[in-house]
Amino acid sequence: MRSIAAWIGAHPVVSFLIFFAVFPFLVPYQALATQVLIFGLFALGFNLLYGYTGLLSFGHAAYYGLGAYGTGIALARLHVASLWGALGTGLLLAGLGGAIIGFFCLRRRGIYFAMLTLAFAQLLYFVGFHLASVTGGDDGLRGIPQLRLGLPGLAVSLDSPISFYYFCFVLVGLAVAALKRILESPFGAVLQAIRENSDRAVACGYDVNRVKLLSFVFSAVFAGLAGSLDALRLTVVPIESLYWTTSGQVVMMTLLGGAGTFFGPFVGAATYLVLEDRLSVFTESWPLVIGAIFSAFVLFLPRGIWGTLTGGFHGRQST
Protein backbone atom coordinates (compact mmCIF):
# COMPACT_ATOMS: atom_id res chain seq x y z
CA MET A 1 0.00 0.00 0.00
CA ARG A 2 2.74 2.44 0.99
CA SER A 3 4.72 1.81 -2.18
CA ILE A 4 1.65 2.46 -4.30
CA ALA A 5 1.02 5.63 -2.30
CA ALA A 6 4.64 6.65 -2.78
CA TRP A 7 4.39 6.17 -6.54
CA ILE A 8 1.19 8.23 -6.60
CA GLY A 9 2.92 10.91 -4.54
CA ALA A 10 5.80 11.04 -7.01
CA HIS A 11 3.58 11.20 -10.10
CA PRO A 12 0.50 13.19 -9.00
CA VAL A 13 -0.59 14.47 -12.41
CA VAL A 14 -0.34 11.09 -14.16
CA SER A 15 -2.10 9.42 -11.23
CA PHE A 16 -4.85 12.01 -11.35
CA LEU A 17 -5.35 11.50 -15.10
CA ILE A 18 -5.41 7.70 -14.87
CA PHE A 19 -7.76 7.55 -11.90
CA PHE A 20 -10.25 10.22 -12.88
CA ALA A 21 -10.38 9.05 -16.51
CA VAL A 22 -12.21 5.92 -15.33
CA PHE A 23 -13.76 7.39 -12.16
CA PRO A 24 -17.29 7.98 -13.56
CA PHE A 25 -17.61 4.25 -14.18
CA LEU A 26 -16.65 3.37 -10.60
CA VAL A 27 -19.38 5.38 -8.83
CA PRO A 28 -23.14 4.71 -8.71
CA TYR A 29 -24.00 7.69 -10.93
CA GLN A 30 -22.02 10.17 -12.99
CA ALA A 31 -23.31 13.33 -11.33
CA LEU A 32 -21.52 12.24 -8.16
CA ALA A 33 -18.25 11.88 -10.09
CA THR A 34 -18.54 15.45 -11.40
CA GLN A 35 -19.26 16.71 -7.89
CA VAL A 36 -16.19 14.95 -6.54
CA LEU A 37 -14.04 16.59 -9.23
CA ILE A 38 -15.42 20.06 -8.54
CA PHE A 39 -15.33 19.89 -4.74
CA GLY A 40 -11.97 18.13 -4.91
CA LEU A 41 -10.68 21.16 -6.81
CA PHE A 42 -12.24 23.49 -4.23
CA ALA A 43 -10.52 21.56 -1.44
CA LEU A 44 -7.27 21.53 -3.46
CA GLY A 45 -7.34 25.33 -3.42
CA PHE A 46 -8.12 25.46 0.30
CA ASN A 47 -5.33 22.97 0.94
CA LEU A 48 -2.76 25.19 -0.77
CA LEU A 49 -3.45 27.79 1.90
CA TYR A 50 -4.01 25.57 4.95
CA GLY A 51 -2.06 22.43 4.21
CA TYR A 52 0.95 24.01 2.53
CA THR A 53 1.12 27.57 3.89
CA GLY A 54 -0.30 26.84 7.34
CA LEU A 55 -3.08 29.45 7.16
CA LEU A 56 -6.51 28.21 8.25
CA SER A 57 -9.20 30.04 6.28
CA PHE A 58 -12.76 29.66 7.50
CA GLY A 59 -14.10 31.80 4.67
CA HIS A 60 -13.33 30.01 1.45
CA ALA A 61 -17.00 30.15 0.49
CA ALA A 62 -16.22 33.75 -0.52
CA TYR A 63 -13.97 32.78 -3.44
CA TYR A 64 -16.00 29.76 -4.45
CA GLY A 65 -19.08 32.01 -4.44
CA LEU A 66 -17.32 34.84 -6.30
CA GLY A 67 -16.29 32.37 -9.01
CA ALA A 68 -19.82 30.98 -9.22
CA TYR A 69 -21.50 34.38 -9.28
CA GLY A 70 -18.89 35.83 -11.65
CA THR A 71 -19.49 33.11 -14.22
CA GLY A 72 -23.23 33.04 -13.58
CA ILE A 73 -23.68 36.80 -13.88
CA ALA A 74 -21.56 36.91 -17.04
CA LEU A 75 -23.80 34.29 -18.67
CA ALA A 76 -27.24 35.11 -17.26
CA ARG A 77 -27.10 38.90 -16.89
CA LEU A 78 -24.40 40.15 -19.27
CA HIS A 79 -25.14 37.48 -21.90
CA VAL A 80 -21.50 36.75 -22.57
CA ALA A 81 -21.47 34.44 -25.59
CA SER A 82 -18.24 32.61 -24.84
CA LEU A 83 -17.93 29.97 -22.15
CA TRP A 84 -14.27 30.84 -21.79
CA GLY A 85 -15.11 34.50 -21.25
CA ALA A 86 -17.59 33.58 -18.54
CA LEU A 87 -15.12 31.27 -16.79
CA GLY A 88 -12.49 34.00 -17.01
CA THR A 89 -14.87 36.48 -15.35
CA GLY A 90 -15.40 34.09 -12.47
CA LEU A 91 -11.68 33.47 -11.99
CA LEU A 92 -10.89 37.18 -12.18
CA LEU A 93 -13.52 38.04 -9.60
CA ALA A 94 -12.34 35.30 -7.24
CA GLY A 95 -8.71 36.35 -7.61
CA LEU A 96 -9.56 39.99 -7.03
CA GLY A 97 -11.67 39.12 -3.98
CA GLY A 98 -8.82 36.98 -2.67
CA ALA A 99 -6.35 39.83 -3.08
CA ILE A 100 -8.52 42.38 -1.25
CA ILE A 101 -9.75 40.13 1.56
CA GLY A 102 -6.32 38.52 1.86
CA PHE A 103 -4.77 41.95 2.32
CA PHE A 104 -7.06 42.64 5.28
CA CYS A 105 -6.88 39.19 6.89
CA LEU A 106 -3.11 38.92 6.66
CA ARG A 107 -2.79 41.95 8.89
CA ARG A 108 -3.34 39.49 11.74
CA ARG A 109 -1.76 36.12 12.30
CA GLY A 110 -2.70 32.87 13.90
CA ILE A 111 -6.16 32.14 15.14
CA TYR A 112 -7.24 35.72 14.35
CA PHE A 113 -6.76 34.96 10.68
CA ALA A 114 -9.37 32.21 10.69
CA MET A 115 -11.95 34.45 12.34
CA LEU A 116 -11.27 37.33 9.96
CA THR A 117 -11.62 35.19 6.84
CA LEU A 118 -14.94 33.95 8.24
CA ALA A 119 -16.13 37.48 8.96
CA PHE A 120 -15.29 38.78 5.49
CA ALA A 121 -16.99 35.80 3.85
CA GLN A 122 -20.14 36.58 5.85
CA LEU A 123 -19.88 40.19 4.67
CA LEU A 124 -19.93 38.98 1.06
CA TYR A 125 -22.84 36.68 1.83
CA PHE A 126 -24.94 39.57 3.13
CA VAL A 127 -23.94 41.73 0.16
CA GLY A 128 -25.03 38.95 -2.21
CA PHE A 129 -28.21 38.51 -0.23
CA HIS A 130 -29.23 42.18 -0.46
CA LEU A 131 -28.04 42.88 -4.04
CA ALA A 132 -30.96 40.88 -5.39
CA SER A 133 -31.13 42.77 -8.70
CA VAL A 134 -27.71 41.39 -9.64
CA THR A 135 -27.42 38.13 -7.70
CA GLY A 136 -31.04 37.03 -7.41
CA GLY A 137 -30.77 37.35 -3.62
CA ASP A 138 -32.40 34.62 -1.57
CA ASP A 139 -33.76 32.81 -4.65
CA GLY A 140 -30.29 32.36 -6.09
CA LEU A 141 -29.08 33.35 -9.55
CA ARG A 142 -31.26 31.59 -12.10
CA GLY A 143 -31.32 31.34 -15.87
CA ILE A 144 -27.72 30.42 -16.61
CA PRO A 145 -27.79 29.18 -20.24
CA GLN A 146 -25.96 26.01 -21.24
CA LEU A 147 -23.48 27.20 -23.83
CA ARG A 148 -21.58 24.98 -26.21
CA LEU A 149 -17.91 24.77 -25.58
CA GLY A 150 -16.07 26.76 -28.23
CA LEU A 151 -12.78 25.18 -29.26
CA PRO A 152 -10.76 26.12 -32.36
CA GLY A 153 -12.59 24.48 -35.24
CA LEU A 154 -15.42 22.82 -33.34
CA ALA A 155 -18.13 23.39 -30.78
CA VAL A 156 -18.71 20.66 -28.20
CA SER A 157 -22.05 20.28 -26.50
CA LEU A 158 -21.86 19.88 -22.72
CA ASP A 159 -25.46 18.76 -22.35
CA SER A 160 -24.82 15.17 -21.37
CA PRO A 161 -23.44 14.49 -17.88
CA ILE A 162 -20.53 12.50 -19.26
CA SER A 163 -19.33 15.21 -21.66
CA PHE A 164 -19.58 17.77 -18.85
CA TYR A 165 -17.59 15.42 -16.63
CA TYR A 166 -14.74 15.24 -19.12
CA PHE A 167 -14.85 19.00 -19.61
CA CYS A 168 -14.31 19.37 -15.84
CA PHE A 169 -11.75 16.56 -15.95
CA VAL A 170 -9.59 18.53 -18.40
CA LEU A 171 -9.83 21.81 -16.48
CA VAL A 172 -9.27 20.23 -13.06
CA GLY A 173 -6.38 18.24 -14.58
CA LEU A 174 -4.81 21.53 -15.67
CA ALA A 175 -5.35 22.92 -12.17
CA VAL A 176 -3.68 19.85 -10.64
CA ALA A 177 -0.70 20.30 -12.96
CA ALA A 178 -0.56 24.00 -12.05
CA LEU A 179 -0.61 23.19 -8.34
CA LYS A 180 2.20 20.67 -8.76
CA ARG A 181 4.20 23.32 -10.62
CA ILE A 182 3.56 25.87 -7.84
CA LEU A 183 4.55 23.47 -5.07
CA GLU A 184 7.74 22.37 -6.81
CA SER A 185 8.86 25.92 -7.54
CA PRO A 186 11.11 27.91 -5.19
CA PHE A 187 7.94 29.82 -4.27
CA GLY A 188 6.35 26.55 -3.15
CA ALA A 189 9.36 25.81 -0.99
CA VAL A 190 8.99 29.20 0.71
CA LEU A 191 5.30 28.45 1.38
CA GLN A 192 6.23 25.30 3.23
CA ALA A 193 9.00 27.12 5.06
CA ILE A 194 6.43 29.63 6.28
CA ARG A 195 4.19 26.79 7.42
CA GLU A 196 7.00 25.19 9.38
CA ASN A 197 8.44 28.37 10.90
CA SER A 198 7.24 31.77 9.82
CA ASP A 199 9.79 33.73 11.88
CA ARG A 200 12.65 31.78 10.42
CA ALA A 201 11.41 32.43 6.88
CA VAL A 202 11.45 36.14 7.72
CA ALA A 203 14.97 35.81 9.08
CA CYS A 204 16.03 34.15 5.83
CA GLY A 205 15.05 37.34 4.05
CA TYR A 206 11.76 36.30 2.45
CA ASP A 207 8.98 38.83 2.15
CA VAL A 208 6.64 36.54 4.05
CA ASN A 209 3.57 38.74 3.78
CA ARG A 210 3.86 38.99 0.02
CA VAL A 211 4.32 35.24 -0.32
CA LYS A 212 1.32 34.59 1.93
CA LEU A 213 -0.83 37.01 -0.04
CA LEU A 214 0.19 35.35 -3.30
CA SER A 215 -0.65 31.95 -1.85
CA PHE A 216 -4.00 33.37 -0.71
CA VAL A 217 -4.75 34.64 -4.23
CA PHE A 218 -3.74 31.36 -5.90
CA SER A 219 -5.91 29.50 -3.43
CA ALA A 220 -8.83 31.84 -4.14
CA VAL A 221 -8.46 31.33 -7.90
CA PHE A 222 -8.58 27.53 -7.52
CA ALA A 223 -11.68 27.88 -5.35
CA GLY A 224 -13.13 30.31 -7.89
CA LEU A 225 -12.65 27.82 -10.74
CA ALA A 226 -14.49 25.23 -8.66
CA GLY A 227 -17.33 27.70 -8.10
CA SER A 228 -17.47 28.59 -11.81
CA LEU A 229 -17.69 24.94 -12.82
CA ASP A 230 -20.37 24.31 -10.22
CA ALA A 231 -22.42 27.22 -11.59
CA LEU A 232 -22.24 25.61 -15.06
CA ARG A 233 -23.13 22.20 -13.61
CA LEU A 234 -26.20 23.41 -11.71
CA THR A 235 -27.15 26.25 -14.12
CA VAL A 236 -28.10 28.14 -10.97
CA VAL A 237 -26.07 29.75 -8.18
CA PRO A 238 -27.75 29.24 -4.79
CA ILE A 239 -27.08 31.97 -2.21
CA GLU A 240 -25.68 29.26 0.08
CA SER A 241 -22.57 29.20 -2.13
CA LEU A 242 -21.42 32.23 -0.16
CA TYR A 243 -22.66 31.03 3.22
CA TRP A 244 -20.31 29.91 5.99
CA THR A 245 -21.58 26.33 5.71
CA THR A 246 -19.81 26.11 2.34
CA SER A 247 -16.59 27.24 4.01
CA GLY A 248 -17.12 24.62 6.69
CA GLN A 249 -17.70 21.95 4.06
CA VAL A 250 -14.35 22.53 2.35
CA VAL A 251 -12.57 22.56 5.72
CA MET A 252 -14.14 19.21 6.61
CA MET A 253 -13.39 17.67 3.21
CA THR A 254 -9.74 18.68 3.34
CA LEU A 255 -9.22 17.47 6.89
CA LEU A 256 -11.06 14.19 6.32
CA GLY A 257 -8.84 13.51 3.32
CA GLY A 258 -5.62 14.85 4.81
CA ALA A 259 -4.38 18.44 4.82
CA GLY A 260 -0.99 19.05 3.25
CA THR A 261 -1.15 15.94 1.10
CA PHE A 262 -1.56 16.25 -2.63
CA PHE A 263 -4.56 13.94 -3.04
CA GLY A 264 -6.08 14.38 0.42
CA PRO A 265 -8.54 16.99 -0.90
CA PHE A 266 -9.91 14.60 -3.54
CA VAL A 267 -10.08 11.69 -1.10
CA GLY A 268 -11.85 13.95 1.42
CA ALA A 269 -14.29 15.38 -1.13
CA ALA A 270 -15.19 11.88 -2.30
CA THR A 271 -15.59 10.63 1.29
CA TYR A 272 -17.75 13.58 2.30
CA LEU A 273 -19.99 13.44 -0.77
CA VAL A 274 -20.46 9.68 -0.65
CA LEU A 275 -21.27 9.90 3.08
CA GLU A 276 -23.76 12.69 2.44
CA ASP A 277 -25.29 10.72 -0.42
CA ARG A 278 -25.62 7.48 1.57
CA LEU A 279 -26.62 9.01 4.91
CA SER A 280 -29.30 11.32 3.53
CA VAL A 281 -31.19 8.21 2.42
CA PHE A 282 -31.57 7.15 6.05
CA THR A 283 -31.84 10.38 8.00
CA GLU A 284 -32.39 14.08 7.59
CA SER A 285 -29.88 14.62 10.38
CA TRP A 286 -26.91 13.50 8.29
CA PRO A 287 -24.91 16.65 9.23
CA LEU A 288 -24.94 15.35 12.81
CA VAL A 289 -23.22 12.15 11.72
CA ILE A 290 -20.71 13.97 9.52
CA GLY A 291 -20.04 16.46 12.35
CA ALA A 292 -19.34 13.56 14.71
CA ILE A 293 -17.04 11.84 12.19
CA PHE A 294 -15.22 15.11 11.58
CA SER A 295 -14.78 15.75 15.33
CA ALA A 296 -13.44 12.24 15.75
CA PHE A 297 -10.94 12.84 12.95
CA VAL A 298 -9.69 16.07 14.58
CA LEU A 299 -9.25 14.19 17.86
CA PHE A 300 -7.85 10.87 16.72
CA LEU A 301 -6.81 11.05 13.05
CA PRO A 302 -5.57 14.62 12.49
CA ARG A 303 -3.65 13.53 9.40
CA GLY A 304 -6.83 12.46 7.64
CA ILE A 305 -7.34 9.36 5.51
CA TRP A 306 -4.74 9.98 2.81
CA GLY A 307 -2.33 11.60 5.26
CA THR A 308 -2.45 8.58 7.56
CA LEU A 309 -1.62 6.38 4.57
CA THR A 310 1.19 8.55 3.23
CA GLY A 311 2.24 10.87 6.06
CA GLY A 312 1.40 14.54 5.72
CA PHE A 313 1.03 17.81 7.52
CA HIS A 314 -1.00 17.61 10.72
CA GLY A 315 -1.59 21.17 11.77
CA ARG A 316 0.52 24.18 12.53
CA GLN A 317 2.78 23.60 15.51
CA SER A 318 1.90 25.64 18.57
CA THR A 319 4.38 28.36 19.41
Partner: protein
Amino acid sequence: MIDISFSALVAQVFTGLVLGMIFVLLAIGLSLIFGLMTVVNFAHGSLFMLGAYFGVFLYGVTRNFWISLVVAPLMVGGLGLVIERFLIRRLYGRSPDDPLLLTFGLSLIMVEAARLIWGKIGLTLDPPRALAGAVDLGFMNFPAYRLFVIGITVLVLIAIWLFLERTNVGLIIRAGSRDPLMVRALGIDLSRIWLLVFGIGTGLAGLAGILAGPMRGVYAEMGVTMVIESFVVIVVGGMGSLIGAVVAGLLMGQVVGLTTYFAPALAEIMVFIAMAVVLLVRPSGLFGEAGLLE
Protein backbone atom coordinates in the same frame (compact mmCIF):
# COMPACT_ATOMS: atom_id res chain seq x y z
CA MET B 1 -35.33 62.95 3.41
CA ILE B 2 -35.04 60.86 6.52
CA ASP B 3 -37.55 61.84 9.11
CA ILE B 4 -35.69 61.68 12.39
CA SER B 5 -38.05 61.59 15.29
CA PHE B 6 -36.19 61.99 18.55
CA SER B 7 -38.09 59.45 20.62
CA ALA B 8 -37.84 56.81 17.89
CA LEU B 9 -34.10 57.38 17.71
CA VAL B 10 -33.71 57.07 21.47
CA ALA B 11 -35.76 53.89 21.42
CA GLN B 12 -33.40 52.56 18.77
CA VAL B 13 -30.38 53.48 20.89
CA PHE B 14 -31.90 51.51 23.77
CA THR B 15 -32.64 48.54 21.49
CA GLY B 16 -29.03 48.69 20.33
CA LEU B 17 -27.95 48.77 23.95
CA VAL B 18 -29.87 45.56 24.69
CA LEU B 19 -28.33 43.82 21.67
CA GLY B 20 -24.95 45.16 22.78
CA MET B 21 -25.46 43.52 26.19
CA ILE B 22 -26.03 40.14 24.53
CA PHE B 23 -22.88 40.69 22.45
CA VAL B 24 -20.95 41.58 25.60
CA LEU B 25 -22.03 38.42 27.44
CA LEU B 26 -20.98 36.26 24.49
CA ALA B 27 -17.76 38.14 23.80
CA ILE B 28 -16.66 38.14 27.47
CA GLY B 29 -16.99 34.36 27.57
CA LEU B 30 -15.14 33.89 24.30
CA SER B 31 -12.47 36.34 25.38
CA LEU B 32 -11.95 34.73 28.81
CA ILE B 33 -11.55 31.32 27.23
CA PHE B 34 -9.28 32.63 24.51
CA GLY B 35 -7.17 34.77 26.83
CA LEU B 36 -6.40 31.90 29.17
CA MET B 37 -6.37 28.89 26.89
CA THR B 38 -5.83 30.34 23.36
CA VAL B 39 -8.84 28.27 22.37
CA VAL B 40 -11.32 29.83 19.97
CA ASN B 41 -14.62 28.24 20.87
CA PHE B 42 -16.57 28.00 17.63
CA ALA B 43 -19.34 26.18 19.51
CA HIS B 44 -20.05 29.33 21.54
CA GLY B 45 -23.00 30.23 19.31
CA SER B 46 -24.44 26.74 19.59
CA LEU B 47 -24.14 26.86 23.38
CA PHE B 48 -25.95 30.22 23.25
CA MET B 49 -28.70 28.46 21.29
CA LEU B 50 -28.80 25.58 23.78
CA GLY B 51 -29.15 28.10 26.62
CA ALA B 52 -32.35 29.35 25.02
CA TYR B 53 -33.69 25.82 24.36
CA PHE B 54 -32.85 24.64 27.88
CA GLY B 55 -34.74 27.74 29.05
CA VAL B 56 -37.82 26.71 27.06
CA PHE B 57 -37.53 23.15 28.36
CA LEU B 58 -37.14 24.21 31.99
CA TYR B 59 -39.96 26.71 31.72
CA GLY B 60 -42.15 23.91 30.39
CA VAL B 61 -41.28 21.74 33.40
CA THR B 62 -41.25 24.32 36.20
CA ARG B 63 -43.53 27.06 34.80
CA ASN B 64 -41.14 29.47 36.46
CA PHE B 65 -38.96 31.82 34.43
CA TRP B 66 -36.65 32.67 37.32
CA ILE B 67 -35.70 29.07 38.02
CA SER B 68 -35.09 28.57 34.28
CA LEU B 69 -32.95 31.70 34.16
CA VAL B 70 -30.66 30.29 36.85
CA VAL B 71 -30.63 26.62 35.85
CA ALA B 72 -30.31 26.91 32.05
CA PRO B 73 -26.91 28.68 32.15
CA LEU B 74 -25.74 26.14 34.73
CA MET B 75 -26.73 23.30 32.40
CA VAL B 76 -24.89 24.92 29.50
CA GLY B 77 -21.86 25.56 31.72
CA GLY B 78 -22.00 21.91 32.81
CA LEU B 79 -21.97 20.82 29.17
CA GLY B 80 -19.01 23.16 28.68
CA LEU B 81 -17.17 21.41 31.52
CA VAL B 82 -17.73 18.04 29.85
CA ILE B 83 -16.53 19.38 26.48
CA GLU B 84 -13.35 20.82 27.99
CA ARG B 85 -12.53 17.88 30.22
CA PHE B 86 -13.10 15.07 27.74
CA LEU B 87 -12.55 16.61 24.30
CA ILE B 88 -10.64 19.90 24.16
CA ARG B 89 -8.16 18.79 26.82
CA ARG B 90 -6.83 16.17 24.43
CA LEU B 91 -5.77 18.90 22.02
CA TYR B 92 -3.52 20.99 24.27
CA GLY B 93 -0.01 21.09 22.89
CA ARG B 94 -1.24 20.54 19.37
CA SER B 95 -1.85 23.20 16.74
CA PRO B 96 -4.01 26.10 18.04
CA ASP B 97 -6.21 25.53 14.98
CA ASP B 98 -7.28 22.12 16.27
CA PRO B 99 -9.62 23.27 19.08
CA LEU B 100 -11.29 25.63 16.59
CA LEU B 101 -11.81 22.73 14.18
CA LEU B 102 -13.09 20.44 16.91
CA THR B 103 -15.57 22.98 18.29
CA PHE B 104 -16.72 23.63 14.72
CA GLY B 105 -17.58 19.93 14.45
CA LEU B 106 -19.29 20.04 17.86
CA SER B 107 -21.39 23.03 16.86
CA LEU B 108 -22.67 21.13 13.80
CA ILE B 109 -23.66 18.26 16.09
CA MET B 110 -25.43 20.58 18.56
CA VAL B 111 -27.42 22.49 15.91
CA GLU B 112 -28.51 19.25 14.27
CA ALA B 113 -29.37 17.67 17.63
CA ALA B 114 -31.49 20.71 18.54
CA ARG B 115 -33.39 20.33 15.26
CA LEU B 116 -33.90 16.65 15.98
CA ILE B 117 -35.12 17.17 19.57
CA TRP B 118 -37.12 20.41 19.34
CA GLY B 119 -38.05 20.43 15.66
CA LYS B 120 -37.17 22.75 12.81
CA ILE B 121 -39.80 25.35 13.62
CA GLY B 122 -38.76 28.02 16.09
CA LEU B 123 -40.23 28.15 19.61
CA THR B 124 -41.17 31.12 21.74
CA LEU B 125 -40.17 31.87 25.30
CA ASP B 126 -42.39 34.32 27.17
CA PRO B 127 -40.88 36.88 29.52
CA PRO B 128 -42.09 36.52 33.13
CA ARG B 129 -45.37 38.23 33.94
CA ALA B 130 -43.71 40.75 36.23
CA LEU B 131 -41.69 42.04 33.25
CA ALA B 132 -44.39 41.81 30.58
CA GLY B 133 -45.32 45.49 30.34
CA ALA B 134 -43.49 48.65 29.42
CA VAL B 135 -41.79 51.13 31.71
CA ASP B 136 -42.31 54.87 31.32
CA LEU B 137 -38.85 56.42 31.28
CA GLY B 138 -40.23 59.97 31.17
CA PHE B 139 -39.46 60.57 27.51
CA MET B 140 -40.57 57.20 26.14
CA ASN B 141 -41.97 53.79 26.98
CA PHE B 142 -39.56 50.87 26.94
CA PRO B 143 -40.30 47.15 27.40
CA ALA B 144 -39.57 46.21 31.00
CA TYR B 145 -37.97 42.91 29.99
CA ARG B 146 -35.32 44.70 27.92
CA LEU B 147 -34.46 46.99 30.83
CA PHE B 148 -34.14 43.86 32.93
CA VAL B 149 -31.68 42.37 30.39
CA ILE B 150 -29.57 45.53 30.62
CA GLY B 151 -29.66 45.43 34.42
CA ILE B 152 -28.78 41.78 34.79
CA THR B 153 -25.90 42.05 32.32
CA VAL B 154 -24.44 44.96 34.27
CA LEU B 155 -24.74 42.92 37.48
CA VAL B 156 -23.03 39.92 35.86
CA LEU B 157 -20.23 42.14 34.55
CA ILE B 158 -19.64 43.59 38.01
CA ALA B 159 -19.60 40.08 39.48
CA ILE B 160 -17.04 38.93 36.90
CA TRP B 161 -14.91 41.99 37.55
CA LEU B 162 -14.98 41.38 41.30
CA PHE B 163 -14.21 37.71 40.77
CA LEU B 164 -11.18 38.45 38.58
CA GLU B 165 -9.84 41.36 40.62
CA ARG B 166 -10.68 40.43 44.20
CA THR B 167 -10.40 36.66 44.54
CA ASN B 168 -7.45 34.32 44.57
CA VAL B 169 -8.81 32.26 41.72
CA GLY B 170 -9.30 35.44 39.71
CA LEU B 171 -5.69 36.34 40.35
CA ILE B 172 -4.56 32.95 39.09
CA ILE B 173 -6.71 33.37 35.97
CA ARG B 174 -5.17 36.75 35.24
CA ALA B 175 -1.68 35.43 35.87
CA GLY B 176 -2.38 32.36 33.75
CA SER B 177 -3.39 34.53 30.78
CA ARG B 178 -0.13 36.40 31.04
CA ASP B 179 2.38 33.65 31.70
CA PRO B 180 1.05 30.11 32.10
CA LEU B 181 4.52 28.61 32.39
CA MET B 182 5.39 30.77 35.38
CA VAL B 183 2.08 30.01 37.11
CA ARG B 184 2.75 26.29 36.70
CA ALA B 185 6.26 26.74 38.00
CA LEU B 186 4.70 28.16 41.17
CA GLY B 187 2.99 24.82 41.66
CA ILE B 188 -0.53 25.75 40.60
CA ASP B 189 -2.60 23.17 38.74
CA LEU B 190 -3.72 25.21 35.74
CA SER B 191 -5.79 22.43 34.21
CA ARG B 192 -8.45 22.90 36.90
CA ILE B 193 -8.47 26.64 36.20
CA TRP B 194 -8.91 25.96 32.48
CA LEU B 195 -11.85 23.72 33.25
CA LEU B 196 -13.41 26.39 35.46
CA VAL B 197 -12.92 29.19 32.95
CA PHE B 198 -14.36 27.11 30.12
CA GLY B 199 -17.36 26.38 32.32
CA ILE B 200 -17.83 30.07 33.20
CA GLY B 201 -17.42 31.20 29.57
CA THR B 202 -19.90 28.67 28.21
CA GLY B 203 -22.28 29.38 31.10
CA LEU B 204 -22.27 33.05 30.10
CA ALA B 205 -23.13 31.99 26.53
CA GLY B 206 -26.06 30.01 27.96
CA LEU B 207 -27.18 33.03 30.00
CA ALA B 208 -27.03 35.21 26.87
CA GLY B 209 -29.13 32.57 25.09
CA ILE B 210 -31.95 32.41 27.62
CA LEU B 211 -31.96 36.22 27.93
CA ALA B 212 -32.16 36.60 24.15
CA GLY B 213 -34.89 33.95 23.81
CA PRO B 214 -37.92 36.14 24.70
CA MET B 215 -36.67 38.92 22.40
CA ARG B 216 -35.46 37.05 19.31
CA GLY B 217 -37.29 33.73 19.41
CA VAL B 218 -35.69 30.32 19.90
CA TYR B 219 -34.50 28.40 16.86
CA ALA B 220 -31.64 26.05 16.03
CA GLU B 221 -29.70 28.50 13.83
CA MET B 222 -29.95 31.44 16.26
CA GLY B 223 -26.36 31.09 17.42
CA VAL B 224 -24.66 30.87 14.06
CA THR B 225 -24.62 34.53 13.10
CA MET B 226 -24.25 35.53 16.76
CA VAL B 227 -20.95 33.69 17.13
CA ILE B 228 -19.54 35.27 13.99
CA GLU B 229 -20.62 38.72 15.19
CA SER B 230 -19.08 37.98 18.59
CA PHE B 231 -15.81 37.14 16.84
CA VAL B 232 -16.06 40.55 15.19
CA VAL B 233 -16.64 42.16 18.60
CA ILE B 234 -13.47 40.52 19.92
CA VAL B 235 -11.44 41.56 16.89
CA VAL B 236 -12.66 45.15 17.29
CA GLY B 237 -12.16 45.20 21.05
CA GLY B 238 -8.79 43.50 21.01
CA MET B 239 -8.27 39.79 21.58
CA GLY B 240 -8.11 38.77 25.21
CA SER B 241 -9.08 42.22 26.52
CA LEU B 242 -12.21 42.14 28.70
CA ILE B 243 -12.64 45.92 28.68
CA GLY B 244 -12.28 45.74 24.91
CA ALA B 245 -15.01 43.09 24.72
CA VAL B 246 -17.40 45.26 26.76
CA VAL B 247 -16.73 48.49 24.84
CA ALA B 248 -16.75 46.83 21.41
CA GLY B 249 -19.87 44.81 22.27
CA LEU B 250 -21.79 47.96 23.20
CA LEU B 251 -20.39 49.76 20.16
CA MET B 252 -21.47 46.97 17.80
CA GLY B 253 -24.91 46.97 19.41
CA GLN B 254 -25.21 50.66 18.51
CA VAL B 255 -23.84 50.09 15.01
CA VAL B 256 -26.51 47.46 14.36
CA GLY B 257 -29.26 49.40 16.14
CA LEU B 258 -28.65 52.69 14.35
CA THR B 259 -28.14 51.19 10.88
CA THR B 260 -31.37 49.25 11.36
CA TYR B 261 -33.02 52.62 11.92
CA PHE B 262 -31.44 54.57 9.06
CA ALA B 263 -30.71 51.86 6.47
CA PRO B 264 -32.15 48.44 7.40
CA ALA B 265 -30.58 46.61 4.45
CA LEU B 266 -27.10 47.58 5.62
CA ALA B 267 -27.55 46.48 9.25
CA GLU B 268 -25.83 43.11 8.88
CA ILE B 269 -23.09 44.51 6.66
CA MET B 270 -22.12 47.49 8.83
CA VAL B 271 -20.71 45.25 11.57
CA PHE B 272 -18.15 43.88 9.14
CA ILE B 273 -17.39 47.28 7.62
CA ALA B 274 -16.69 48.61 11.12
CA MET B 275 -14.36 45.66 11.65
CA ALA B 276 -12.50 46.36 8.39
CA VAL B 277 -12.04 50.00 9.40
CA VAL B 278 -10.66 49.05 12.82
CA LEU B 279 -8.31 46.56 11.17
CA LEU B 280 -6.97 49.23 8.85
CA VAL B 281 -6.55 51.91 11.50
CA ARG B 282 -5.66 49.83 14.53
CA PRO B 283 -4.96 46.20 13.63
CA SER B 284 -4.61 45.04 17.25
CA GLY B 285 -8.14 46.25 18.10
CA LEU B 286 -9.28 49.12 20.30
CA PHE B 287 -7.82 47.74 23.55
CA GLY B 288 -5.54 44.99 22.27
CA GLU B 289 -1.82 44.76 22.65
CA ALA B 290 0.04 44.26 19.38
CA GLY B 291 1.23 40.73 18.89
CA LEU B 292 -0.56 39.40 21.97
CA LEU B 293 -1.68 35.79 21.75
CA GLU B 294 -1.04 35.28 18.07
